[in-house]
Symmetry: C2
Subunit: 502 residues, 2 copies
């Protein structure tokens, strides 16, 4: 293909981007359906279809014409807008990465992940790590190999981290986690000696039907337009976005746990808010959608913890929550509820962990992933090492793998390098809060009245609408200066010192 | 591409079939999601994706290499098994049809249908036929044009009928419907003069939650393996099959109507049973899946009416149904229930119609479709003509288009020529019953005990397992001789004469 001018080359780029979006849409839809609606023994046919669609995707992205088109656009960069340049850069990154993976491996990996999802669910339900182990071994091996394809100059795990958060390295994370640890450990120590907060009432019987209604109410409070956002059930909560007018969040209702589903709805709601507010102009281009996992988690954890677990928010929503569960919460005051949802206590399950100890769960996964990918830890040793680290960092005994190393969906989904973004996201969010407060002096009052529109507008303006136009660190700095974890440390220290009257 | 031998050409055929299945799977999944789970304003992005996937499908099927491959296999037919010959014939039919439709039209049509689905739902909810009319006009125009592409030698509507039931013509259907009319009209006349059957209690309040549980129970009675078959909710019940290990049925729960959802589950369950029992050997080939709409409807209507509305089946399931609704059905005997679900009375809604008057609903649609496609009726005249025919054949006044010509999903889905297969299916089913009874002398006792396994085995052996290996008429004749509507007329006459004590 020879281009007469930049316009022609941009049309070829657009055609490529649109096909990519369509194939992703189709594949994500099949995977989404598998997690929410598909009959449980239907994995085989789905795997074949995903294999064939992946082959289509591979052919599309690895096509030699792309190289020519991208080279032409690079050579004419002076004629491109900032937006077009970014589209070229992101498409280039994508094409280079994928064309470095041999097609057969790519297809085989997609099919492996499809099978692994079903096997992991079963293994988790039946506490049968050995059933999942051979799949995990293959997934780790693929990731190690892919890391070399992505960037052979980097240590494998750095190359994987870079997939979720551009430029992130073990060196940065080691320092980051160290800073958090030195803040959290003494704080937790003080909390251990303080009067414990009670959350027993959260484990009364809360019928799933009522929880569903309450989840719908929280979607309203978050001002999420249900015309563009679905809410479904799955084993593990997640958010999927097909485009900025079609986002899905999922949750899981436990009838003896009031807050698990509700806070997962707020968490996934934060992801959805981000995707839904990306500017329409980027639809079906490489810029569409949230820019990185870290920024994404900053939004979800901002809504879940910084807003959702604040005194002001509880004040706004608790009366309505009590209406859904008048008997179960008859003896529970607003203050009781606030204290219960913020009770800090070492525990087993990451997704159920409190805001303070959450980072320790992430640190454990970070350590294990580093070692698995480096080949310093074998899959068969994983359960034992997992259990040892939980004892060491959190002081808890892991009774079985279902509540241990089988608890998360990430590894069965091949997402190595993803976990650290949860912790980074929390830290990003705390820094955003600091700058948002400056711009919104009556923020607290608005939250007290249950009105999140100013907050959504601030985030929309500074973060959401830009989609993937800027690199994550550039986007973040434009919104609130260079990343500095001390905002997060200060936020946690202030909140938990006050809460526990330390 | 030059083939060295038949094996090579068969490999090329297999590759084509597999890709076709994968693209269909993806597109069907997106359409299924749209009907069951997608947020209501998400049609736009979905439409774009379907447009691009359709273009992929078009390119795949219209590729010139296919012609060469199919010609090679035709030339070596002597070396092919019966199964391979059928795969060649079906693929050939498929390729010829689609390559006769210009790609742009094909893609435009797929996108039109996607939009039309959302517009129709809204128009139906808001009784706004004019909002839907422009879409329907375009769909009719496309179908008329496509009919010419399919088979320019045939009248347009015959070419469309042929898509759903190979070889079916207006000439055959005119005779068939005439035969039914001459039987049903006098029977209905006698029923009008007989003592009416009471079904008031079916419109008491039946909570959706309980209906769902009851639907699950009926799935068990039908012995449908939920590991391979989903049950979801949609505006209009339907069955979708991605492959013989992944089938979905949907229903719609009305809280003031006990039987609507329950019988739709049995009806769709019949479709599902067929798909689930297709032989694995045909998976991902052109032979996979049910062979025609008529045969498919024979299965769904067999389970819904011939089994589901029989005295023996009611005897088997009514005690359990009563357990789900002890208060609502406190004063209702098994006989009352049997009479209620068989009450014959002219009505407005096809899907709610009784077994006897159902064919009249189909006749009306058949007449209207014939005329729309022939250009003898314009879309703007449709509501008036619809209402006139309902008055003429069924003696009922249509109060609005929601309960009139907007009630069915078929036309918004582009399925012109589909409706007659419902009536044909009923007639096929009655003939199957006749032959099944000969082979299964204790069939009645088994149904009385709620055990449908012999029936499923008979149908599996004679119909289901063969998937699309034989042409529908061949399959049918192998199972129960040449098609003869008198079996159906006799079945209806005997059942309703006895029921109404005529």
């Amino acid at each position: 293909m020879k281009f007469q001018n930049v316009k022609e080359a941009l049309e070829a780029l657009k055609a490529l981007e649109e096909k990519q979006w369509a194939l992703s849409h189709a594949m994500n839809m099949i995977v989404y359906d598998a997690a929410t609606a598909a009959p449980k023994n239907s994995a085989e046919g789905r795997g074949k279809t995903l294999g064939i669609l992946s082959a289509y995707m591979y052919e599309l992205i690895a096509a030699p014409e792309n190289t020519e088109m991208l080279a032409y656009l690079r050579a004419h960069e002076a004629e491109l807008s900032e937006e077009e340049k970014r589209r070229v850069a992101l498409t280039e990154k994508n094409c280079q990465q994928i064309s470095r993976i041999p097609q057969e491996e790519y297809t085989e990996y997609e099919m492996l992940l499809n099978d692994a999802q079903a096997v992991w669910e079963k293994a988790k339900n039946e506490n049968d790590f050995p059933a999942f182990a051979p799949y995990l071994e293959k997934i780790v091996a693929f990731n190690r190999k892919f890391a070399g394809y992505y960037n052979p100059a980097l240590p494998a795990y750095d190359a994987l981290l870079n997939e979720y958060e551009e430029g992130m390295t073990m060196a940065v994370l080691d320092v980051f986690f160290e800073k958090l640890r030195t803040a959290i450990v003494p704080l937790l120590e003080k909390i251990r000696n303080a009067k414990p907060l009670n959350d027993d009432f959260l484990r009364r019987f809360y019928p799933a039907e009522k929880q569903k209604q309450c989840a719908e109410y929280l979607m309203e409070v978050l001002q999420i337009d249900r015309g563009y956002c679905g809410l479904a059930e799955s084993e593990h909560p997640f958010t999927d976005n097909f485009n900025n007018k079609d986002v899905r969040i999922t949750t899981h209702f436990y009838e003896n746990n009031l807050t698990s589903a509700l806070y997962s709805v707020i968490h996934e709601g934060g992801h959805a808010i981000y995707e839904l507010a990306c500017d329409d102009r980027y639809n079906q281009t490489a810029i569409a959608g949230g820019v990185s996992m870290g920024i994404h988690e900053s939004q979800s954890r901002f809504f879940e913890n910084i807003i959702g677990r604040s005194e002001a928010f509880i004040h706004a929503v608790y009366p309505k929550i009590k209406e859904f569960f008048p008997e179960q919460l008859a003896d529970v005051t607003e203050r009781d509820f606030y204290e219960a949802v913020n009770r800090a206590e070492p525990s087993l399950i990451r997704t159920e962990a409190d805001e303070l100890t959450y980072c320790l769960h992430i640190m454990i996964r970070y350590e294990l992933e580093k070692q698995l990918i480096a080949g310093e830890l074998s899959v068969s040793e994983l359960p034992e090492k997992w259990n040892r680290l939980y004892l060491e960092y959190l002081g808890v005994e892991v009774p079985n793998d279902t509540m241990g190393c089988l608890q998360d969906t990430h590894w069965s989904g091949g997402s190595f390098g993803y976990f650290p973004s949860y912790a980074l996201g929390s830290a990003y969010g705390a820094q955003m809060l600091h700058f948002m407060k400056k711009d919104l002096p009556n923020m607290e009052e608005k939250i007290l009245s249950g009105d999140l529109s100013d907050i959504k507008r601030w985030l929309g303006e500074h973060i959401h609408r830009h989609a993937s136009l800027y690199q994550p660190s550039v986007l973040f700095e434009k919104a609130c200066g260079p990343f500095d974890p001390s905002y997060y440390v200060e936020y946690l220290t202030e909140k938990f010192t006050k809460l526990y009257k330390l």
